[in-house]
Assembly symmetry: C2
Homo-oligomer: 245 residues x 2
DNA sequence: CCTCGGTTTTGAACACGTTCAAGACAACGC
DNA sequence: GCGTTGTCTTGAACGTGTTCAAAACCGAGG
């Protein structure tokens, strides 16, 4: 459970203070180099208190992702209301995504170091980050639905998720990108966005349709990540539950 | 350099003993759950001694990858000498790869948790694991060169590396695969291998050739992982071990 | 005012990965 | 024998993330 656990105004403030201190330290000296004791001290709090609000050091990163997503939306602004061109829309989302995370590039690597670990709650595929993932996929759905673009039947349902995976790929590249100002990443976006539209078009061709269908099928099969017997009892998100939006 | 640091017969034996103990413990109780003290005790050695042969707990995993590769070759046997069919050859390599790592499925996740971290020496892209990666890519080159298969000019040079990436994808799936006996993974191999051959064929079509060229170009661009100024000269393999930071 | 229940806060304590100065050992030249 | 040099081995000690029992705090009821 992600467990916010702040039932009080003062509690919420403390939580915020800890998160602020943590992110600032992560940004300036890196994740591994920052100790929980430093964070606690910077937040003017006992170390145990940090663990009252965040189950682990990792969970602080998850909180960062949440913050980063609202920053992403802020930077995106009304860009999706000003054009119906698919490439422009997609490009806008990707560029602002990179922009929004830019100050935290090194921190963002953690997303992938745990992405592959089935048990890490930090993985973008984990149940803990499911709501956040859903929002990102929904954003891609908006990119598609508001665009003048014909999508083949086979692809339609899964396209948003595929685009999200594509976004993850871009972010993965960006995390490794050591070019000045990360210009290579922006170049990659500009060069691959047309390819993506092209692929969506190609997917309708009879030559590749069976292949597309197969790939989509595999994706579907993968989705309900057969995660053990699962706690079933439903994500205890009862009270604070619905992440906004 | 992996830092063997065993200049003596007895030293080599000790190293082996530690590695054996570590892998056995990793296999039976998992990586995170195994402590260096347990390993040392099982190997009948002081904890500091383990660090004389392995710079860190992670390095034990790298040693595992090396062992696993020779096991992979053993299982593969002469399979590559008995057929020139591309699909059969590729399938043989992939299936034996999965077979060879099967007892260490959980341990293998570590490959990916660090794959994305640019600084981790465990990453398959890191200089530390370069020689091992080369061997894996070379194996794929053999798969191609010994097969009756026509490869387009644009693709030829990079195909082995692409196939290795494909192998990594399979392994990534396998690591998450919770189906009984991991049958889903073997199914995935059987279903995707034909797709791969198909794609290699399609890559020659004029419609997609520019796209192929672009993708290959990006791959090339990515290769010399702009990793710092590159230490080139002396990969500080001095004995006492230039710990680095 | 006091008491009670829940929420928040504390800091000592724990187990872990890792380091390091010191010692043990082995081979060799004298 | 004896020192010398390089390899190997030891175990206490350090800093880390994390836990937990206890304390402090706070609002509401009596």
């Amino acid at each position: 459970m992600t467990e916010a656990t702040s039932k009080t105004r003062k509690g919420a403030e403390t939580r915020e203070r800890i998160l602020d201190a943590a992110l600032e330290l992560f940004r300036t000296q890196g994740y591994a180099e920052t100790t929980m004791r430093q964070i606690a001290q910077a937040a003017d709090v006992a170390v145990g208190n940090a663990y009252y609000y965040f189950a682990s050091k990792d969970q602080l990163i998850l909180a960062f992702y949440e913050r980063n997503h609202v920053e992403h939306l802020r930077l995106l602004g009304d860009a999706l209301d000003t054009t119906r061109d698919f490439q422009e829309r997609l490009r806008a989302v990707l560029r602002t995504k990179v922009d929004s995370a830019m100050p935290y590039r090194r921190l963002s690597t953690k997303l992938f170091t745990s992405a592959a670990d089935p048990e890490s709650p930090l993985s973008p595929f984990s149940p803990e980050s499911a709501p956040l993932r859903k929002e990102a996929v929904d954003l891609m759905a908006e990119v598609v639905s508001g665009a003048s673009l014909r999508v083949g039947k086979d692809l339609r349902a899964d396209l948003p998720e595929l685009l999200w995976l594509y976004e993850m790929g871009i972010v993965l590249y960006w995390v490794h990108d050591s070019s000045p100002e990360c210009e290579n990443t922006y170049g990659l976006i500009d060069r691959t966005v047309p390819v993506v539209e092209r692929l969506i078009g190609i997917a309708k061709l009879p030559v590749v349709r069976p292949m597309v269908r197969e790939l989509v099928g595999m994706l579907d099969e993968l989705r309900p990540t057969a995660q053990a017997p699962a706690p079933t009892a439903e994500d205890g998100s009862a009270p604070g539950g619905g992440r906004r939006r």
